[in-house]
């Protein structure tokens, strides 16, 4: 657990036309830790993640990465810094195999042809580094994989590029208990290997099982970002539903200050 965040957002503002979605959001992500991002539907989790990943530009605020102020205008910019996002729909191609999916759009070439051997080796090494043993062959088509295996491939694809921050949007949402356990173990292993992981989840057991910090968004504002060893389940539920819990959370905007 290190004190300096690898990714630091300050005063983030985002509107879609007249609809304000994020207001004055601060968010820190630390290497070697899992940071859970929680919030009700419409609290702004997905928008925040898309802003981090460069899909949406911020209207205002500061984006700091490894101690430097950066401008992120596209997913390519984010990927170049080492920020990878795994979206809920995973964006895998069913008709391609695991290796082809992991290198989709970023294929290795040798001269004019694809360098299959190198790609296969890199894919195998990445899966091995994540202790993934559930996949029989890396030349298997993605359509033949289970939900948990697909999630695993999508996560492996994200860490293949020496990424430093990996954001996972509801990775266990559609999975059964056994596959959820596998994915959670993988999430934990990523952080234990030194990556900064952001986990979006609605399941409080998943959140408390793997995360080191919990950030709660409430109506587009960051209600609180706390260490998982300092809060209870009911405090987090309160932060999600009312933006406030005891001393934690937002000061109400009726002019009163604590």
């Amino acid at each position: 657990m290190t004190a300096t965040p690898i990714l630091r957002l300050r005063g983030i503002e985002k509107s879609f036309g007249p609809v304000q979605v994020l207001h004055d959001v601060a968010f820190d992500v630390h290497p070697g830790e899992v940071t859970a991002l929680v919030g009700d539907n419409g609290a702004g989790k997905s928008t925040l993640v898309k802003c981090i990943g460069g899909i949406h530009p911020f209207d205002g605020g500061e984006y700091w990465f490894e101690g430097e102020r950066v401008q992120v205008h596209s997913p390519r910019d984010a990927a170049a810094m080492g920020v990878e996002i795994v979206y809920q729909d995973l964006a895998l191609c069913d008709n391609l195999d695991i290796v082809q999916n992991m290198f989709l759009g970023r294929e290795k070439r040798r001269g004019l042809v694809l360098d299959d051997a190198t790609m296969e080796e890199m894919a195998a090494r990445t899966l091995e580094g994540l202790s993934v043993r559930t996949v029989k062959s890396i030349r298997q088509q993605v359509s033949s994989l289970s939900g948990g295996q697909r999630q695993t491939v999508a996560i492996a694809k994200a860490v293949l590029w020496n990424s430093k921050v990996v954001v996972l949007d509801e990775p266990t949402a559609a999975l059964g208990v056994a596959q959820t356990a596998q994915v959670l173990e993988l999430v934990r292993r990523l952080a234990d290997n030194g990556l900064a992981v952001v986990l979006i989840s609605h399941n409080m057991n998943d959140v408390f099982a793997v995360s080191d910090r919990i950030a709660a968004l409430y109506l587009g504002r960051m209600a609180a970002q706390v260490k998982a060893s300092d809060v209870t389940h009911s405090q987090i539920v309160e932060l999600i539903t009312s933006g406030r819990s005891g001393d934690l959370g937002l000061v109400h905007t009726n002019g009163a200050t604590p």
Binding site: V177, T180, A181, R188, N205, F208, A209, S229, D230, H233
Partner: protein, 401 residues
């Protein structure tokens, strides 16, 4: 008064330490070994050649390094040649494995066993049969260097007598001696509590690698506990320590426990409590029944959710108290508690966070076991290896290599 250690003692210690590094770390280059052990290269060279002429390790070219230049040799354990036998007396299965130096599974045998009364002699017979089958598959020139067994009960450290094992109905069983005799290998069987061995296994090869202070909770029919403090297994005066499952958490309204007390963690949060609270068919027991409760809770079944909520509460209360006393870095949930933890982590964490002192819990990590159902066998193997890792050449001489 004795002066410092003699040269012979230092050399013996170094041989054991080097073998332990290779046993736990796998293929390692001599340069890395020199660095880790704080010895110069020529000393390492001497130790390596001594151990390799004894047939415990060998030096070879590493698999493709992907780098240019002449690769340096790596030191590997002779996993195929030097092995131990590990035995696990479970509550509903008996298992044995042949495990090579370096922790490689070379073979295993397993049989289901009806829950309830176990006759110690019969168990020893079955396990000895497994041992013979496993040793028949070993090539000529291979060598068994130790025997270790895990039992769900209290084991006296001095002589390995199983004082009591309520779930299988044992009392004062000289199981280790019995199994030693039936095997007739000229090696004694070391016996140890199963959760203690699980703790050792996760500490050396699993979720607690590199962590010197950890708690291990193992769920099957009951709840076993193992404590590693300062890198050492905490056994207490007679070796009976670490029984986290028999920590009383609910003395007033609690359920009676098999040990005679009321409101032990095991009677409040063990398999039976979970299945009863979730209103499960009493005939269904074991890992699949526990998993079914967690799955039902995930689908929204309210009695399953309430049951996990209660069990999570008791586990959190117990762990919170232990965090104040022992200040572990890691708490590992193994056996069926792995599923239970994932299904009630919010409750467990919340209880720990409200019961344990801030400073004692601030760096606490909660993890599930990485070795799964193999943890106990891996631990039994480590117990069996312990002698050769202390005095490699002496142990070889004794086992007649």
């Amino acid at each position: 008064m004795k002066a410092g250690p003699s040269q012979e003692e230092i050399r013996r210690h170094n041989l054991g330490t080097l073998l332990r590094h290779v046993h736990l770390g796998g293929s390692t280059s001599r340069a890395v070994l020199a660095d880790r052990m704080g010895l110069n290269r020529s000393t390492i060279l001497g130790l390596v050649s001594e151990l390799s002429s004894a047939g415990l390790i060998r030096e070879e070219l590493p698999q493709d390094t992907g780098r240019a230049g002449r690769p340096s040799l790596v030191v590997r354990p002779e996993s195929d040649r030097v092995y131990v036998l590990a035995f696990d007396v479970g509550v509903d299965r008996l298992a044995a494995a042949r495990i090579g130096l370096g922790g490689v599974f070379l073979g295993r045998r397993e049989t289901p066993w009806p829950r309830g009364g176990f006759d110690s002699g019969e168990v020893a017979d079955v396990l000895a049969g497994f041992a013979r089958q496993l040793m028949d598959t070993a090539r000529d020139g291979t060598l068994c260097v130790g025997l270790g067994a895990a039992v769900r009960g209290l084991v006296r450290r001095s002589d390995g007598v199983v004082r009591s094992a309520a779930h299988i109905g044992w009392k004062e069983e000289e199981f280790g001696e019995d199994l030693t005799r039936r095997l007739g290998l000229g090696l004694p069987v070391s016996v140890e509590n199963e959760a203690n061995l699980g703790a050792v296994a996760e500490h050396l090869r699993g979720a607690g690698t590199g962590c010197q202070d950890l708690l291990y909770l193992h769920g099957d029919i009951g709840i076993g506990g193992g404590i590693i403090a300062g890198g050492q297994l905490l056994g207490g005066d007679g070796g009976y320590g670490g029984e986290i499952g028999h920590m009383v958490v609910n003395p007033r309204g609690g359920r009676p426990c098999g040990c005679g007390a009321r409101g032990c963690l095991e009677s409040e949060a063990g398999e039976r409590a979970l299945l009863q609270a979730a209103r499960r068919d009493p005939s269904a027991t074991g890992r699949d029944a526990v998993r079914a409760v967690v799955e039902a809770a995930d689908r929204g079944d309210i009695s399953a959710r309430a049951a996990l909520h209660d069990v999570g509460d008791w586990l959190g209360i117990a762990v919170g108290g232990l965090v104040n006393i022992l200040n572990p870095r890691t708490v590992i949930f193994g056996g069926t508690l792995r599923e239970v933890f994932l299904g009630s982590a919010a409750q467990i964490r919340s209880r720990i966070n409200s019961h344990a002192l801030g400073a004692a819990r601030e760096h606490l990590r909660l993890r599930v076991g990485e070795l799964g159902d193999d943890a106990v066998l891996v631990g039994a193997a480590e117990l069996a290896f312990s002698e050769i890792l202390v005095g490699p050449l002496e142990t070889l001489a004794r086992t007649g290599a």
